[in-house]
């Protein structure tokens, strides 16, 4: 059952982010769209932020548009994002706590799966009603503004096991074109005035209050991809994803 849950999670996330990315394929710059549920109370002690295992995937797009998973780029992006989290939390005076990955394919402990799965459903809902492109966005009159979603008591095991105040979830997808595909896109544009999608990155971050389960902040980052061989540019992308973190 654990395997089913986890595989389902990644499948849905990929589909969601892919659907979101398409309309922004030609976006020339990086855009972020933060939502904040409410201003957080100022803490007297450094808040403890539990970083959940970042869900990262990097692919290479060949001329035919076939996506090729790149484990090396994925590892680079993952490391860059974690460094960005560490830097950002340090700037906020917050303490970073790393989630202890479980052995095997599923990185989560059994007792945390309920919260992980519900987070996926809530995130899917937020993407549908807040972040979908306007022409595709569904209306939800009962939740027209802000963030009013929660994971409820499902977060209790995370709170207990890590004594953390917040949990930070990161999802990041990066598609980078081969040189040949980039040239093909440029030629298509010159000859036919049609720009083929080339490189892009999409990420979403969410901060969960582990006392109440409330989703307190989310941010969506979309834009052109970057030089995957430059870790500093991945860190920069991670810092943009975390911009406006309400700590």
């Amino acid at each position: 059952m654990c395997g089913t849950r986890q595989l389902g999670k990644y499948r849905l996330t990929r589909r969601t982010l892919a659907a979101l990315a398409v309309p922004f394929a030609l976006a020339a710059c990086v855009q972020v769209q933060p939502y904040l549920a409410k201003k957080l109370p100022s803490a007297t002690e450094p808040v403890r932020v539990l970083l959940m295992p970042p869900d990262v995937a990097a692919i290479e797009l060949a001329t035919a548009g076939v996506p090729l998973p790149r484990a090396d780029w994925t590892a680079l992006a993952q490391d860059g994002l974690v460094e960005a989290v560490a830097d950002t939390l340090k700037k906020h005076g917050a303490e970073l706590i790393r989630y202890r990955r479980a052995a095997g394919i599923v990185p989560y402990a059994e007792e945390h799966l309920e919260a992980i799965a519900l987070h996926e459903a809530v995130l899917q809902t937020i993407l549908t009603y807040r972040y979908a492109p306007p022409q595709q966005r569904a209306a939800l009159p009962t939740r027209q503004e802000g963030l009013a979603w929660t994971l409820g008591e499902s977060v209790a095991p995370l709170r207990t096991d890590y004594a953390a105040d917040y949990a930070l979830f990161l999802i990041y997808r990066q598609a980078t074109s081969t040189v040949e595909r980039a040239l093909f896109a440029a030629v298509s544009f010159v000859l036919f005035g049609f720009m083929q999608p080339t490189s892009q990155s999409v990420g979403i971050a969410s901060l969960i209050d582990l006392d109440t389960g409330a989703v307190v902040w989310t941010n969506l980052l979309q834009g052109q991809s970057l030089d995957v061989n430059r870790p500093d540019s991945i860190r920069d992308r991670g810092e943009r994803l975390l911009s406006g973190l309400p700590l």
């Binding site: 589909r15 459903a121 209306a139």
Partner: protein, 198 residues
């Protein structure tokens, strides 16, 4: 491998599908809302509502988290799934579980479970079928539980009745077991008690 489109419909991920039913409207407490020409209920709280042919879908936080389905006048050959947003093959249509005149309460339990299972829900359980009033008439009630393809556990509550001419009225509530089912359960029970047959 992609998730079944039916599951997206049934569990509400189908923003596109629901959009196909028209823009959602707000249902407000105190306004007894007519479901088809069959019955009315008091919504108790504000809901976002989508209308399909013989079905209304109400939700507060989003159908993937909780949803109330109000069916009215389901007839022989009707399915419990919403009208698909795009055309489906004849084979796909024929494979959808359907209501048939002459079905009894325990058949409806199996119909709901089969509909959920065919839609991609995992470990579907429908249990505790018992008599219950529906708008002052003899009806039935049962409980549901299942898991979605992303691993969220759901609980459900269903109540309904079969009319003398063999049509089915059914109210089905499903909510994610962590938080969402519990958050609205008391309200749902009040809604079920407020049914007035027309």
């Amino acid at each position: 491998m992609s998730a079944s489109p039916c599951l997206l419909v049934l569990l509400g991920l189908g923003a596109a599908v629901l959009t196909g039913c028209g823009n959602p409207l707000m249902v407000k407490p105190g306004e007894h809302d007519e479901i088809g020409n069959a019955y009315r209920v008091d919504p108790q709280i504000e809901w976002s509502r989508q209308q399909d042919r013989k079905l209304q879908i109400w939700t507060v936080d989003g159908p993937l988290l909780e949803q109330l389905r109000l069916y009215a006048g389901i007839e022989d050959g009707d399915t419990l799934l919403p009208t698909p947003g795009r055309s489906i093959s004849r084979q796909a249509w024929e494979q959808r579980p359907k209501y048939h005149k002459g079905m009894r309460a325990h058949d409806v339990v199996e119909l709901v479970a089969a509909t959920l299972a065919q839609s991609g829900a995992i470990d579907v359980g429908a249990e505790r079928l018992r008599p219950a009033e529906f708008g002052g008439r003899a009806g039935f009630r049962f409980d549901l539980r299942f898991e979605s393809d992303i691993g969220v556990r759901y609980r459900g509550l269903a109540t309904g009745m079969i009319t003398q001419d063999g049509r089915l009225h059914l109210i089905l509530y499903m909510g994610a077991q962590p938080h969402y089912f519990d958050a609205y359960e008391a309200i749902i029970r009040r809604i079920l008690s407020s049914v007035i047959l027309l």
